[in-house]
C-alpha cells in the first residue's frame, strides 16, 4: 500500500490559494489512478500556526466533503506560531502513511505529480534514496544538481517527499534550532549522514508563486532577512564550519545593522541557556558552505 501524508503549515493564508492548490492535488490523484504507480491513499494535513483559526468546523467539513473522492483532509489549529520545523514535527507525530510530503500550502502541482515524485522510490530496495524534490516554477531554485544522476546536496521543503520511517529515524526537523529557514537544509544533510541520496526531479514541475523585482532580484522582508541571518549562524555552528561561524558571528556582532546584531544576540542567548545544538559532521563529509549558500549555485538570484 503506497500512502502519502502531505503536510503544510498555514499562517494567515488566502483560502482561495489553498483551495486552488488542493484542486491541483485532487486532480493529480485522479490522474495518478490511471498510472502504473498508483498511490492508494493521500491525506492532506494542515497545521494552522495563524493567530486565529483559518477554518471553523463547518467550513472544514465542507472542504473535506468537496475533496473526499480523492483526498482525506485533516486540520490542526496549533494556537501558536510554531514556525515550519515545529509545525511539521507536530503534524508528523502520528503519521501512519508510508511517505511524507512537505510542501508550501500554495504550491500547485502538475497532473503527473505523484508518478514523477514517487517513481525513484519504487524498486529502490536498498532504500538508498532519502528525498525527492520537485522543481519549482516559474522561478527555479538555482542550486546545482547532477544532470545525469539528478543528485543534489539538499532539498527545499517547498515540495519534498521522503519515507516516514526516515523522518522518525531522524526525529523530524530540528525545531529547537531552526524556526523558519534552513530546517530543510539541516534535515537533508542529516538524511545524507544516514547514507541516503537526495534527488532533484526536474521533470516534475510545481507552480510556486514568487515574483522578482524589475531587476530580477529577490525582495526579502525584514523578518526574512532576520531569520535567514539567525539560521546561517546556527547552521555554521551545528555543522562544524568553525571558521565560517567565527567570521559570521564576528561580523554580526560588530555590525551596525540591528538585524544582524539581533541574530548574534539570539545565538548568545542559546549558548547561555545551554540550548545550542549538538555539533555534527566534524569531518565535513556532508555539509558544504559555498559563499552564502549551502551548495554550489548555478547563478545568483
Amino acid at each position: 500500500m503506497k500512502t502519502i501524508q502531505i503536510q503544510s503549515v498555514l499562517y494567515n493564508n488566502e483560502k482561495w490559494a489553498l483551495r486552488r492548490a488542493l484542486e491541483s492535488m485532487a486532480n493529480a490523484v485522479k490522474i495518478n489512478k490511471q498510472s502504473d504507480t498508483v498511490v492508494d491513499k493521500v491525506t492532506v494535513c494542515y497545521g494552522d500556526a495563524s493567530p486565529e483559526r483559518l477554518f471553523d468546523d463547518v467550513e472544514l467539513e465542507k472542504w473535506q466533503k468537496d475533496f473526499e473522492s480523492f483526498l482525506e483532509l485533516k486540520y490542526k489549529f496549533f494556537n501558536e506560531n510554531t514556525g515550519s520545523a515545529k509545525g511539521h514535527n507536530l503534524l508528523g507525530e502520528d503519521c501512519g502513511s508510508e511517505y511524507m510530503l512537505i510542501m508550501n500550502p500554495d504550491v500547485i502541482v502538475c497532473p503527473k505529480f505523484f508518478q514523477k515524485l514517487i517513481a525513484p522510490f519504487i524498486n529502490n530496495t536498498d532504500k538508498s534514496i532519502g528525498i525527492t524534490e520537485a522543481r519549482q516554477t516559474p522561478i527555479e531554485h538555482p542550486k546545482c544538481y547532477n544532470r545525469e544522476t539528478l543528485e543534489t546536496e539538499w532539498a527545499t521543503t517547498a515540495c519534498a517527499l521522503f519515507r516516514t520511517e526516515d523522518f522518525k529515524r531522524l526525529n523530524g526537523f530540528d525545531s529547537k534550532t531552526f524556526f523558519l529557514y534552513c530546517d530543510d537544509v539541516d534535515f537533508s544533510w542529516r538524511m545524507r549522514l544516514l547514507g541516503k541520496k537526495i534527488l532533484y526531479i526536474p521533470d516534475c514541475p510545481v507552480f510556486h508563486s514568487k515574483t522578482l523585482s524589475e531587476n530580477g532580484a529577490w525582495q526579502p522582508t525584514k523578518a526574512e532577512i532576520y531569520y535567514s541571518a539567525e539560521a546561517s549562524l546556527l547552521m555554521a555552528y551545528k555543522w562544524s564550519a568553525d571558521k565560517r561561524f567565527q567570521r559570521l558571528y564576528s561580523t554580526f556582532k560588530n555590525s551596525d545593522n540591528g538585524t544582524m546584531k539581533k541574530a548574534a544576540a539570539h545565538f548568545d542567548e542559546l549558548k547561555a541557556a545551554g540550548e545550542l545544538p549538538e555539533q555534527l559532521d566534524k569531518k565535513h563529509t556532508v555539509a558544504k558552505f559555498v559563499g552564502d549558500y549551502y551548495t554550489k549555485h548555478r547563478f545568483v538570484l
Binding site: R20, E23, S24, A26, N27, I31, I108, C110, P111, K112, T137, P138, I139, E140, P142, R147, E148, P202, D203, P205, V206, F207, S209, K210, T211, L212, S213, E214, N215, G216, A217, W218, Q219, P220, I225, D256, N257, R298, F299, V300, L301
Partner: protein, 482 residues
Amino acid sequence: MKEIQYELTELNRMIAFLENQVDKESEEYKIFRSYMQLQKKRFIEEAADKGRPFLSIITRTQGKRPDMLTETMLCLTGQTDTDFEFIVVGHNLNDTQNASVNELIGELPDWMQQKTVFLPVEGGTRTTPLIKGFEAAKGKYIAVLDDDDLVFDNWVASFKKAYENEPGKILHSYTLFQDWETVSSDLPNTPISVQTPSSVFCRDFSISDELTVNSCPLLTLAFPSYAFNIFNIRFDETLTTTEDWDFLMRTAFVTGVANIPVSTCIYRNWLNTENSQTLHSKSEWNTNYHKIVERFKSTPAMYDRHSIETRINSSALSCLEKPVNQMNNKAQMYYDVGDGFSEANIVKTSASAEKEWTNCFVNLAELGEFSAIRIDPDYTGNIALKDFKMRIDFDDGSQQVYDSGNIITNAYKFNDLLVFLKNDPQLIVCFDKPKLVNKVECSLEMLSPVPDAVIEHLVTHRPFIYRILRKIWRMLKGALGK
C-alpha cells in the same frame, strides 16, 4: 462606478481633439462626434459584458515539447485572476502529437479544462495559427504565450488592472530574460535555468525605440480584440520571423500602449536547443526586418503621449550631436542599504550644476547608509564611455574620485573607453563599510553606438583565448599583490 475612459486610445484621442477643434456646425464635427459616441457605446458595452472573458490566451504548439506545454499550463493554473479562456492552437500536428496535446488538456484540473479550447490548424506559416487563434478568441483582450513560456501568478491580473485604467490600448508589462538549457540527453524536453534573470526587457514601450528594434516579447503584451476584429489589423502571414513586432507596431500606431512597470513573466532564451534564432537564417531575418521597417514608413501612425514625453525628455538632456558629454535621462543609480540592489532603491539622474561634472545624483544622505552604489548609464548596450570619472561626496566631508581604472563594471576596457556591447551596462563602487553619501557626480563622453573600429578591435583582436589569459593574469596579479 468608475467612468469608462473611452477617449484614451491614440485614435480616439485624436478624433476627440479634432471634434473640439472644428466648427460645431461643420460636417466634420458631426462625423467626429458620431464616431466618439459610437466609441463610448462600444467601450461601455464591452466593459459591462460579463459573458466574455477579459483575456483570451492563445498558445500555438507543434506538439514537440509536451513537458514544456505542461509547465505553461501549470503557470496559467496558478493565476490569481482567472478571467480568461485558453486556446491551444495545434499547428500541423500528426496523429501522435494531436493525441499528446489532447491528453495534456484532458489532464488539467476541471476548472481549467472548462476554460480551454483545442483548435487544430493545418497549413499556412507559423503566423497562421495566431490568426486562427485571434479569430476564435472571445476575450476583450488577446495575449499570446508560446508553448514554453513561463508567467508569474500576476500575469493576467496585471493586464486586467491596466485595462481598467487605460481600456482600448495595447497592454505591455515587463518580462525577465533568462538563459535556459535542456537538462540532458535523458531528459531532452526538461528545462534547467542557467543564468540570473536579466532586466533587459524591463522597460516601458517607446514607439521611437521600437521602430527599429523589437524589444517587447509577445508574452509581455495583450492586444485589444477590437483592433483585430473591427480595424482588421492582422498578422502578416508572409512573415516567417518577427511577425509579432510588425503586428505590435501597426496596432500601437492606432491604439497606443499602456505600460505596466511590473515583471510578470520570464522570457526563456534557449542555449542548447532549437529556437527561432537557430531555425531561420540571417538573410531571412534581414529580409523580414527590411520588409517590416519599409511598411512602418508607409503606415499612418500616431505618436503616443508617453513616447513623445520620453523622446522630448531624452533629447533635452542628450542633445543631437554625438558623442554627447553626459548620460541620458535613462541613467539611474541603484544604492545598496545592506540587502542588495533593488528597484526599490533607485535615484534618477539630473544635470549637474558644476561645469566639470555632467550628471549628478543628489540628496542621497537622507536615504541612509550605502554599502555600495551602482550606476546604469543606459538600459541598452552598444555604448561606450570615454574619460569616465565619478566623484562621491560623503557626509563626513570627504571625497573620492573613481575612473575606469578602479571601478567595477561589466564593460570591456579599451584604451580610455569603457565599452558596453551587451545590454544592462553597470558601474559599481563598493564601500568597505556602510557610508552616508551626499552626492554622486559623473563626467564622461558617451559614444552611441560603439564605433565600428572599437568593435572590430574587441571582436577580431581579442579572441577567447586572449580573454582567458588576461583573466589568469589578473588573478595572478591579485595573488601577488596580496
